[in-house]
């Protein structure tokens, strides 16, 4: 084999190597990904305020309803609070970098476990029909406190970065 043939062979091998190790499309795309993903389209702003107010008023208007109805209404109000908390949590997540998101996730997971324990502890009428009302009332109170806290943090984050 003469020198020029060897040189062409070496060139082909080196070129082939670079072709093989050329980054895949996925790898290339990840190089250009932002640090944060936008989770929620900017103009998607679901609101449960009116539903919550309606249920709240219904509960007050039917305060002397039978126990099963009271339990159901109280559960509905607790569910609305929980859904509102979920929305604010997601919005807050969106304002954070990857590390902040991981920290908030862990914090929320701990809080969820604590809420279940605290709501259960608030039940005095164990085994009775009053128990769901006691549970939902405590569940809602704890959830509303957390909702207020996360709303405050979300507002602070938006004050720092109004685009969020």
């Amino acid at each position: 084999m003469n020198k020029s043939k060897i040189a062409r062979l070496v060139f082909k091998m080196v070129f082939g190597y670079f072709l093989l190790v050329l980054p895949t499309p996925e790898t290339l795309a990840s190089d250009f990904l932002p640090e944060r993903y936008e989770l929620i389209p900017e103009n998607w702003t679901p609101s449960l305020e009116q539903t919550r107010d309606y249920l709240d008023e219904s509960f007050k208007a039917n305060a002397e309803a039978p126990q099963q109805t009271l339990n159901q209404m109280s559960k509905n109000l607790a569910d609305i609070s929980d859904a509102q908390l979920f929305i604010v949590y997601i919005r807050l997540v969106q304002t954070l970098d990857a590390r902040g998101q991981a920290e908030l996730f862990d914090e929320q997971q701990r809080w969820l476990a604590e809420r279940a324990t605290a709501a259960q502890a608030a039940v005095i009428s164990k085994g009775g029909s009053l128990a769901p009302l006691e549970y939902s009332g405590a569940f809602k109170k704890i959830t509303d406190e957390r909702l207020g806290e996360l709303q405050k943090r979300l507002q602070q984050a938006r004050n720092i970065n109004p685009s969020k």
Binding site: P66, Q68, K75, R115, T117, G128, L130, A131, A138
Partner: protein, 228 residues
């Protein structure tokens, strides 16, 4: 404690009104609450509301054994109840609703089941503490249904001792009803406040001296109950 059939029926009808708004009760009622183990959601079912992680399996076992209309359809669920969450199983919940609504066997099973779960333990407690009057039975039964028992913390709020310890039965019941009303009316959870309509009914009957439940009808939260 010896209650006539009518006195027992009066107790059941009054409690049904408090729980469901009707004397007959709602045998098909299904609710989903977050009050399962570790706060998970669970199915609550029946006239006096038994839970997926509580006594629902025992109720369905009784129904399956009684060969009701939907017994065979519900049988495969027996090993799952309390083990596999059924809170999102619409077929299971529809079967429960259908049986409660359409099958007299389910209604009879629930009557027997809730009698065993609440009424008999309430009467046993009443007997054990020396109570003999039908209105006492009603107050005690209501407490078992509503709070699961006669809560100790309420007993500590008044001085009268039960009849088996030398106390006066009527005084004990009156003071217990007052303590219970005060607790419900002032609970930190405001949702409990309106439920004093139960204790108010008992206070009315105490005022009428209706200890034998013979002055009829009894006004139970706006519904006239006569035990018929």
């Amino acid at each position: 404690m010896n209650l006539s059939d009518q006195q027992k029926l009066i107790c059941e009808q009054i409690i049904n009104v408090f729980e469901t708004g009707s004397m007959q009760g709602n045998y098909a009622a299904i609710s989903i609450f977050h009050d399962g183990p570790n706060g998970i959601r669970q199915v609550t079912y029946g006239r006096s509301q038994t839970t997926e992680y509580g006594n629902l399996e025992a109720l369905i076992q009784m129904y399956v054994d009684s060969h009701g209309i939907d017994s065979e359809k519900l049988r495969p669920y027996l090993p799952k109840i309390g083990v596999t969450p059924l809170v999102d199983d619409q077929v299971f919940q529809q079967l429960l609703k259908d049986a409660g609504k359409n099958d007299p066997v389910m209604r009879k099973v629930q009557d027997d089941f809730f009698d065993k779960l609440y009424f008999q333990p309430a009467l046993k407690w009443a007997d054990g503490n020396g109570f003999t009057l039908p209105l006492s039975a009603l107050v005690i039964y209501d407490s078992f249904i509503h709070s699961g028992s006669i809560p100790d913390f309420l007993r500590k709020r008044f001085a009268e001792v039960p009849p088996n310890k030398g106390g006066d039965e009527k005084n004990w019941i009156s003071e217990y009803v007052d303590a219970r009303q005060n607790w419900l009316a002032t609970a930190s959870n405001a949702a409990l406040h309106p439920t004093v309509y139960r204790t108010q009914c008992f206070k009315n009957e105490i005022s009428r001296n209706n200890w034998d439940l013979t002055l009829l009808p009894i006004n139970a939260h706006g519904v006239s109950v006569s035990g018929v």
